[in-house]
């Protein structure tokens, strides 16, 4: 195992994410925390960027909880190692999802020694497998080049369907028979833009229109396919440089 294993943490509690990030000695496990997400929605949007090997998912999250997220993700990324974190009062709920291919359930509050043990097991499994993100990229190069303008079709499709909160790169790739990494590269090559950026811009454009119409933020967020208002507000600020409320105020005064 020569590469560093990528780990992503999905938990609505910031301190929980930070604690996990800080409490474990990742480098000694040949691991690295590559990203965090505060909700399932956010995770879906950013997972293609982070390309993690292991995901820690908290069961109880708003907008899209750990179970729903796991359902979506196991379908699109079957090789992903999913470690579900749950407090006792949600354990029964989590157990209902035992049919999902989850690597491990861990009870909160977690103890470092236990986490480390689980991660060592995960590392052992990963060491026997190739990097699926890379592999997918490698074998899909030649297969689907027949279509003259596949990216045009995809653009059109995304423009029509971007309000679906489950929409992301892997979803579209799967739909059109590409691998996610191929689509990502091809998309950038053909349009000169990142797919994730393209999708976010589409949503934000609509969001600004709605903001101009004085729509409430959480409504706008749901309308444009990012029903997590926290993540939405971050995306919005990144896109416009202003918070949603500032934007609405500005537009209102014009």
């Amino acid at each position: 195992m020569d590469r560093t294993i990528r780990v992503m943490i999905i938990d609505d509690e910031e301190s929980a994410r930070k604690l996990l990030r800080a409490g474990i000695r990742w480098e000694s496990l040949q691991m690295e925390v590559v990203g965090e997400a505060a909700s399932g929605i956010e995770a879906i949007n950013v997972i293609d960027d982070y390309r993690p090997d292991i995901v820690f998912v908290d069961i109880s999250m708003p907008f899209m909880d750990g179970i729903e997220f796991t359902e979506v993700v196991t379908e699109r990324y079957p090789y992903l190692i999913i470690i579900i974190m749950t407090a006792i009062d949600q354990f029964e709920y989590a157990r209902k999802c035992v049919s999902l291919p989850v690597f491990e359930y861990m009870l909160k509050p977690m103890v470092r020694a236990e986490i480390t043990k689980v991660l060592e097991r995960a590392r052992d499994r990963l060491s026997k497998e190739p990097d699926h993100w890379e592999e997918v990229r490698a074998d899909s190069e030649s297969t689907l080049l027949d279509d003259d303008h596949p990216i045009e079709h995809i653009r059109k499709y995304v423009e029509e369907h971007f309000t679906d909160p489950r929409m992301n790169l892997a979803f579209v790739a799967q739909r059109f028979g590409f691998s996610a990494s191929y689509l990502s590269r091809k998309f950038k090559q053909d349009t000169g833009r990142n797919f994730v950026e393209f999708l976010t811009e589409l949503r934000m454009e609509k969001a600004t229109t709605l903001a101009t119409a004085h729509e409430k933020m959480f409504c706008t967020a749901a309308e444009v396919g990012i029903p997590d208002p926290n993540y939405f507000s971050r995306c919005f600020k990144k896109y416009t440089g202003k918070s949603y409320s500032e934007y609405v105020k500005e537009k209102g005064s014009e």
């Binding site: 509690e13 929980a16 604690l19 800080a22 006792i88 009062d89 909160k108 509050p109």
Partner: protein
């Protein structure tokens, strides 16, 4: 079946049946007696009447024949001549002529005691002159032959020659009297009396072979037969036609019958004892068969009622009793033979339904309440909140470089996680050990170097399922009632091993130890209420829980040397 209060149906039924049987028997016996008695009396009556009629006829015809004889005498020439002769011509010779003429006629027939011929001038002779004495004074009058004169020549039967002549011993006689007339002048010439000997009657009785008959004159004078019979009934004098009367002689019931004989001053009495003769066996047989039949019917009825009414009621009652005893209120599914009993059963089942409904309502309420209470408890615990808080504080500690704080928080989190353990009541022993380890490491933070712990757990014991929190209270007890009181460093050693599928668990501390009294108190199954706040309640309560879990008393032993150590040994079987 014991049912208090009132007579039982079956015993009442038995009594009624016995009463009915008794009444039937009584009625039948009375009717048998009456019918038998009546039949026998009727039989006697018929017998008696037959005898009496025969005898009467016989007497009458006999008297008739004597009357005929007297007519012959009356018309005898020599006698008539003698009677016609004037008084002056009467001498002994003529009298004897006449007497012999009469006697010649009498030779034809036996049984005539004497014939007396009386002339109008009262000169008389008799064929048996010496054995009679004559009442001459009466003869001088006119009364004695009044009836004879009135009969104008027809035979008149009377007694004792109308009182004119009597035997010296006053033996009664039946007399046939006639007035004798002159055929030419139609004037009465004299009077004839013919006394008939009682031997005639005796002979008649003899020919009948009857010893229970007595022949009397109408005035009650004895003529012939059994003189004893006369003593039974002076009432015979009231006889008109045939009369019967029941009498008792020497304890025997008899029928006394009497008849007068038409036209004769003679009465016949007859005594017949009631015998078995005349018993109506056929009727009796029918009656007895009927009686047996009725008795059988009654018993059959009793059995029928018992089978179809009393027994179902008892069965019903037994099932109700069973329900009461077992506390399991089930509906009764017996088949009742009658709609009334089915009604009773239906009502009872409805009641059971209702009661069960009520019970389940109560249980449901209780469960709801319990669930609500559990919810409240869980709400109070809010593990999610607790863990998130612990995580947040952990991060703060980690961020500030306070690694020991972070370690402590992690232990606390782990302790609570195992402590709550998903709400399970039974956990693996290793989990319990984790609880104890976390608990002790937190306690060590408080008490520093005073505590030391050691574990000796065999792998098969580690996975054995035990009730949650059986070790932690013992360890707590070791700290607070053992080591802490001693004031010096102490060791708690926990060992576990399996032996024949039984977990042997030992907690040994080097504390102050326990006195015999304390040990006894901790092991006593019956703790008094007042003790609940004293010392080692946790220890006692834990032992009780293990007893309940293993469903036996003998689960624990405590060994201690005061000032040296305490060792609590638990033996835990698989819970049932």
């Amino acid at each position: 079946m014991k049912k208090s209060g009132g007579r039982s149906l079956s015993s009442a039924l038995k009594r009624i049946i016995l009463l009915i049987v008794f009444v039937i028997l009584l009625a039948f016996l009375v009717s048998i007696f009456l019918i038998t008695d009546n039949e026998r009396r009727q039989y006697c009556v018929r017998e008696s009447e037959s005898v009496l009629m025969t005898l009467s006829d016989s007497i009458r015809s006999n008297i008739q024949s004597y009357a005929e004889l007297s007519r012959l005498i009356m018309t005898d020439d020599k006698l008539v001549e003698y009677l016609r002769a004037p008084e002056s011509e009467i001498d002994l010779g003529r009298i004897n002529d006449a007497r012999y003429a009469v006697m010649d006629i009498l030779n034809v027939k036996e049984g005539v005691d004497t014939v007396i011929i009386i002339r109008n001038d009262r000169i008389l002779f008799s064929t048996n002159r010496f054995s009679y004495k004559f009442d001459l004074e009466r003869l001088g009058g006119t009364e004695w032959d009044q009836d004879i004169r009135d009969a104008r020549g027809r035979a008149v039967v009377s007694m004792n020659a109308n009182g004119v002549a009597a035997k010296p011993d006053n033996q009664p006689m039946v007399t046939i009297g006639r007035a004798i007339y002159d055929l030419y002048t139609q004037k009465q010439l004299g009077t004839l009396f013919m006394n008939i000997s009682s031997a005639v009657f005796e002979r008649m009785l003899g020919s009948l072979r009857a010893d229970n008959i007595c022949i009397l004159g109408e005035d009650g004078t004895f003529l012939a037969g059994n003189r004893q019979v006369l003593s039974y009934g002076p009432q015979a004098l009231d006889i008109h036609g045939i009369t019967h009367r029941d009498i008792v002689v020497e304890g025997r019931r008899m029928l006394l019958s009497g008849t007068e004989i038409d036209g004769l001053p003679i009465v016949v009495l007859c005594v017949t004892p009631y015998g078995t003769a005349g018993t109506p066996y056929r009727i009796l047989t029918v009656l007895i068969v009927m009686m047996l039949f009725f008795v059988l019917v009654v018993f059959g009825m009793g059995t029928y009622i018992t089978k179809h009414f009393t027994r179902p009621v008892y069965e019903l009652s037994a099932r109700m009793e069973h329900n009461k005893q077992s506390g399991d209120l089930r509906k009764i599914d017996l088949d009742m033979p009658y709609s009334e009993l089915n009604m009773l059963k239906g009502d009872y089942n409805d009641m059971i339904d209702h009661v069960n409904d009520l019970i389940s309502t109560v249980i449901e309420k209780e469960q709801t309440l319990q669930r609500a209470e559990m919810r409240v408890l869980q709400e109070q615990i809010k593990p999610h909140f607790l863990y998130n808080s612990i995580e947040t504080i952990s991060f703060l500690a980690l961020d500030a470089g306070a690694d020991r704080v972070y370690d402590a928080l992690e232990t606390l989190g782990s302790f609570y996680r195992n402590f709550l353990s998903k709400g399970d009541r039974e956990i693996r022993l290793e989990q319990e050990i984790r609880i104890v380890q976390d608990y002790l490491s937190l306690q060590k933070l408080r008490y520093g170097d005073v505590l030391e712990d050691a574990y000796d757990i065999s792998p098969d014991a580690a996975s054995f399922i035990v009730p949650k929190l059986i070790l932690q209270p013992l360890v707590e007890n070791s700290i607070y009632h053992g080591i802490r009181l001693k004031g010096e460093k102490g060791l708690i050693r926990i060992s576990a091993a399996m032996e024949d599928d039984v977990l042997h668990l030992t907690v040994r501390d080097t504390g102050v130890g326990m006195t015999g009294e304390q040990i006894e108190k901790a092991l006593s199954p019956n703790r008094e209420q007042g003790d609940s706040d004293t010392g080692s309640f946790g220890l006692w309560g834990t032992i009780e829980r293990i007893r309940i879990y293993c469903n036996k008393e003998d689960v624990v032993s405590i060994e201690s040397e005061p000032g040296e150590y305490t060792e609590i040994r638990l033996t835990i079987t698989r819970g049932g």
